[in-house]
C-alpha cells in the first residue's frame, strides 16, 4: 500500500514523504523523505529512512522512533522533529487508506 504526504513545516520548509506499507504484515517496506529543509549532517536522512524500515506502521511506534532519532546530534533547520513525525504519519495513514 503506497501513500504520500506533503507538509509545510512551521519553519517554512516543505517535507514530502512517500511510503510503502505491507498490507498483511502492516510493516514499513519503503520510505523516502524529500524536501527543501536542511538537516546536518545531510546523510542522516538515509539513516532515518533506513531505520524506519521493517517497523510496524503504528503511530506510537513510529513517533517514538523518530523522536529518539532526532534526539541525537543532528541539526534541523527550517523544520522540527514534530514536522517529520506528522509528515511520516500522514503518509502511513494515506497508505492504509489507499490514498496515494
Amino acid at each position: 500500500m503506497i501513500g504520500n504526504s506533503e507538509l509545510k513545516a512551521q519553519g517554512g520548509k516543505l517535507i514530502r514523504v512517500e511510503c510503502d506499507v505491507h498490507e498483511r504484515s502492516n510493516v514499513v517496506m519503503r520510505l523516502i523523505i524529500t524536501g527543501d529543509f536542511f538537516l546536518h549532517p545531510e546523510e542522516a536522512i538515509e539513516e532515518l529512512e533506513g531505520s524506519l524500515l521493517m517497523l510496524r506502521a503504528e503511530p506510537e511506534i513510529l513517533t517514538s522512533h523518530i523522536q529518539n532519532f532526532f534526539a541525537k546530534e543532528y541539526t534541523l533547520v527550517g523544520a522540527k522533529p514534530e514536522d517529520f513525525v506528522n509528515a511520516i504519519l500522514n503518509a502511513i495513514s494515506n497508505a492504509k487508506a489507499g490514498k496515494q
Binding site: R16, I32, T34, D36, H40, E42
Partner: protein, 259 residues
C-alpha cells in the same frame, strides 16, 4: 592554527557548467579540510544556465526535466539542503565560501553563521546602493522581497555556504523550468513571485554588470569579516579533484536522481 588565518583566497568571477561549479566547491572543501588550501571565497556564473536542487529534493517533483533538456539547461544536485534554484546565466551571480569550522569568525551555531555570512552579502549590496537585510533562516531581502537565497553544509570539519545574488530575473522562464504544483495557477504564481522577489536591476533601476556585483561581494566579505582577501587561483590539485568529482558525481545520474 591551521585555516584560521585572516588571510583568505579570492577566486574571481568565472563561468562553468553546473557539474563543474558544484565539483569545484567540493574539491576546495576537501583540500581545505586537509590544510592544503586556504579559506576561500569564490564567485561564479553558470554556463549554460542551470537548475540546482537541494540535497533532499526529488528532481522529478521539482524540475520540468523535459523543458530543461529542450532549453539546454543543466540540472544538478547540490550537497547542501534547501530548494530548487534557477541559475540564469543572464541574471545571477553565485558566491561560495569555504572555511574551517574552527575559524573564529564563523559561529559554530548554524543559524547564527547564516546571519554572519549573509552579513557579508548585505554589506556588499550596500556598497552597490541597495539596503538589504537578513531574513532567517537563509534569505536576504530588500523591503521584504528576496534578492538572495543561501544554503550551507558542514562536513569534514568545514563550513561551505553558497548563495545567489539576483541581478535580473526571468520569472516566466523560471516557472517553465521549475514544476508548479498546479498548472492552472502558473500565472498567479508568476505574479505572486514578482511581489516576493526583487533584483538588483529593479532596485537600482539599472542592471549592474556581473563583474560589478562580484566586486561588491568581495568588498562585503573583506569589510564584514575584516579579512584580507587575496586574488588567487584554483590549484592544480583542486582542479584535478574537481574534474573527477564533476564526472563521477555531479554529472552522474546516480547522484542527480538518487532521491
Amino acid at each position: 592554527m591551521m585555516n584560521t588565518s585572516s588571510k583568505w583566497r579570492l577566486l574571481a568571477l568565472a563561468k562553468n557548467n553546473a557539474a563543474m561549479n558544484m565539483a569545484i566547491d567540493e574539491a576546495i572543501l576537501i583540500n581545505c579540510s586537509k590544510g592544503k588550501s586556504p579559506n576561500t571565497v569564490r564567485l561564479y556564473e553558470w554556463l549554460p544556465s542551470a537548475v540546482s536542487i537541494g540535497y533532499f529534493q526529488n528532481p522529478q517533483a521539482e524540475v520540468d526535466l523535459e523543458k530543461c533538456k529542450e532549453e539546454g539547461v543543466d540540472v544538478v544536485r547540490r550537497i547542501t539542503g534547501g530548494g530548487a534554484v534557477f541559475h540564469d546565466n543572464l541574471g545571477e551571480v553565485t558566491y561560495s565560501m569555504m572555511t574551517s569550522e574552527e575559524e573564529r569568525l564563523i559561529p559554530k551555531d548554524i543559524l547564527r553563521s547564516y546571519q554572519i555570512i549573509c552579513g557579508c552579502i548585505i554589506e556588499g549590496l550596500l556598497s552597490l546602493g541597495v539596503a538589504a537585510s537578513f531574513q532567517p533562516v537563509n534569505d536576504i531581502v530588500v523591503a521584504g522581497r528576496k534578492i538572495s537565497g543561501n544554503a550551507q553544509t558542514r562536513r569534514l570539519g568545514m563550513v561551505l555556504q553558497l548563495g545567489t545574488i539576483l541581478v535580473d530575473a526571468n520569472l516566466e522562464k523560471m516557472f517553465q523550468l521549475l514544476k508548479v504544483s498546479d498548472e492552472k495557477i502558473r500565472d498567479k504564481m508568476i505574479s505572486s513571485a514578482e511581489k516576493r522577489v526583487t533584483t538588483l536591476n529593479e532596485e537600482l533601476s539599472k542592471k549592474p554588470s556581473h563583474e560589478q556585483v562580484a566586486e561588491a561581494i568581495e568588498k562585503g566579505f573583506k569589510k564584514s569579516l575584516g579579512i584580507k582577501l587575496a586574488k588567487g587561483k584554483i590549484t592544480d590539485e583542486e582542479m584535478t579533484l574537481a574534474e573527477k568529482l564533476s564526472k563521477e558525481k555531479y554529472a552522474n545520474n546516480d547522484w542527480t536522481f538518487r532521491r
